[in-house]
């Protein structure tokens, strides 16, 4: 595997999974804030569905979106199958319940007095919601990182929706699968190591940044 191809695969992994983590977080964190702050009929059912969804195998989500995005599927006319966009969409659905679950737990652990204190000091309900998010920023970031890690390490969705097209949708995990299928185990191990180092680097970067900010206090 030449260096250019490797760099492209790393870039595609970071781009699709990073984007998926951002999009999923933008949906999941407000949803978790709503779930954590409100009591309503059917809330337990929503949480149960979310927990079940968390355990969905990647190939099942891949298959679902394959049937939607393939030419004969209801979204086939958009021509998204075997594109990075399709990979990102599939990964968003994969990690959405994970980020909702982790964020919900994080927000439930914020002292209930935080919101009340913000309100009584003159915050609007929206501002009070932001304050709660700020108080839970560290565990929320862990939730987003966990989502990113799940997306960057999955192979089923990337393979089924991306198609493992060289220099177009081939990412690290589909490259590993290909190299292993070819019998190039050393290449597979090296790619796996690169994936781990990448994930470790991102985690370290974010956590060091957060610790630095917390130390200021």
């Amino acid at each position: 595997m030449i260096f250019r191809e490797l760099a492209l695969a790393v870039g595609i992994s970071l781009k699709t999974s990073g984007l998926a983590a951002l999009i999923a977080s933008a949906i999941a964190v407000p949803a978790a804030l709503f779930l954590a702050g409100r009591e309503f009929r059917g809330k337990r059912l929503v949480l149960l569905i979310n927990q079940t969804w968390m355990a969905a195998p990647t190939v099942v989500i891949g298959l679902l979106f394959y049937s939607l995005l393939s030419r004969s599927g209801p979204l086939g006319r958009f021509g998204l199958l075997y594109t990075q966009t399709a990979m990102t969409v599939g990964q968003v659905f994969l990690i959405l319940p994970l980020i909702v679950g982790f964020s919900y737990t994080a927000l439930r652990q914020v002292d209930r007095r935080a919101r009340q204190t913000a309100l009584t000091l003159g915050a609007s309900r929206r501002q009070a919601g932001w304050i709660v998010l700020r108080e839970a920023r560290f565990p929320l970031l862990v939730a987003v990182l966990a989502g990113f890690a799940r997306a960057v390490s999955e192979v089923g969705i990337a393979m089924m929706l991306g198609g493992n097209i060289r220099n177009a949708t081939r990412n690290i995990t589909t490259s590993i699968a290909l190299e292993t299928a070819k019998g190039e185990f050393q290449n597979g191990v090296v790619l796996g190591a690169i994936l781990l180092v990448l994930t470790l680097g991102i985690n370290l970067l974010v956590q060091t940044g957060l610790r630095g900010r917390d130390r200021e206090y």
Partner: protein
């Protein structure tokens, strides 16, 4: 005191979804600008719930709550404008992660107060609670008392129209309590701030408040004729006394003259069963009467009303009642120490009544 800040009519509130019989019901309550109103009562009496209502954190289930002559919930902003005028300081205050300055300036930033003004208010508020120069310190590692003082500074920095305080000195060293009380008096005098505070400490209520609202099980307990007496003080140079009725004296230490109001802390009153009255040593502040009402306030204490020449309400440990076989309709003897009589000063007697 001029304008009316709060007017409550037939207000009722029950926590939704909580299987509890507790509910707050108040037929009427009026709080005027600049007034200091103390909410007194046992745990679970509804003091905190009433403060939450007055802080617009919860909405009355029924009845009418007016703030500054209008309905605070009329807009679609969730009473945010009213909440910016009435700041609640809770018993166990929550401090946001960050520095003390971050906390004190929190509400100022929400109100978009200019930076120079914020800095000035930060300094002034920290000075009031004797935390000068602490602004850059982290909130982690603060003691409960220090956290309470930061929360008080945070509320004072806003210079609100109404200050709602839920047991404001509960975590504070005894030495600082008087300082905080002085601060509360000062803000009332200087800024015309209306203060509503809840406290278990009847003496504190007497020291601070223009009016006392005694709550029990979510209802107002009429308190104006119990433990609260007015009269013209006489003195022998060592002690003083008033005579709410001819020949009935309430004695207190020191030299006081003029028209005064005296309040006796229910917890300071001791009861002896009538049978022991004959053997009780004679002395000042001893009164006979019949038990006309008993109500349990929690597992350990009960409120007992004794009607005789004067009407008293005593908060007594249940075991003391059992040991003394005190029961309804029994004749008992009351006694309280001279020092437990709080002299509120030269005020008209009706100023002590709940508004």
């Amino acid at each position: 005191m001029s304008g009316i800040v709060y007017r409550l009519e037939n207000v009722g509130f029950a926590y939704p979804g909580i299987p509890s019989s507790f509910s707050l019901k108040l037929e009427s309550l009026t709080v005027r600008a600049g007034e200091v109103l103390a909410l007194v009562g046992p745990n679970g009496a509804g003091k905190t719930t009433l403060l939450m209502l007055l802080a617009f954190l919860v909405r009355p289930g029924r009845g009418r709550l007016e703030f500054l002559g209008g309905d605070p919930w009329a807009g679609d902003d969730g009473a945010v404008l009213a909440r910016r005028e009435a700041v609640l300081l809770t018993h166990h205050p929550y401090l946001f992660k960050g520095t003390i300055a971050d906390n004190v300036e929190f509400g100022l930033k929400l109100r978009k107060i200019a930076e120079t003004e914020r800095a000035a208010r930060l300094r002034a508020a920290l000075a009031l609670v004797e935390l000068e120069g602490w602004g850059t310190r982290s909130i982690s590692g603060l003691s409960a008392g220090q956290a309470q003082r930061v929360a008080i500074a945070r509320a004072l920095a806003l210079r609100p129209r109404v200050l709602l305080l839920d047991e404001p000195t509960a975590n504070i060293d005894a030495g600082l309590v008087l300082r905080i009380e002085a601060v509360l008096r000062e803000v009332g005098r200087e800024w015309g701030t209306t203060v509503v505070l809840s406290t278990h400490d009847f003496s504190q209520a007497s020291r601070l408040a223009d009016g006392i609202l005694y709550l029990s099980e979510g209802r107002r307990v009429e308190f104006s004729h119990e433990n609260c007496f007015s009269g013209t003080a006489s003195t022998d140079g060592r002690t003083s006394w008033i005579e709410p009725k001819p020949g009935v004296r309430i004695v207190f230490p020191g030299v006081t003259t003029g028209h005064v109001t005296c309040v006796i802390d229910p917890a300071a009153i001791r009861v002896l069963p009538g049978g022991e009255a004959a053997s009780a040593p004679p002395g000042p502040n001893v009164f006979g009467g019949r038990v006309t009402r008993m109500e349990t306030t929690d597992a350990a204490t009960a409120l007992v009303r004794v009607s005789g020449d004067l009407v008293f309400r005593a908060a007594l440990p249940v075991r003391e009642l059992e040991a003394g076989r005190v029961s309804l309709s029994r004749e008992v003897l009351l006694r309280f120490d001279l020092k437990s009589v709080e002299v509120v000063g030269k005020r008209p007697a009706d100023a002590r009544k709940p508004a």
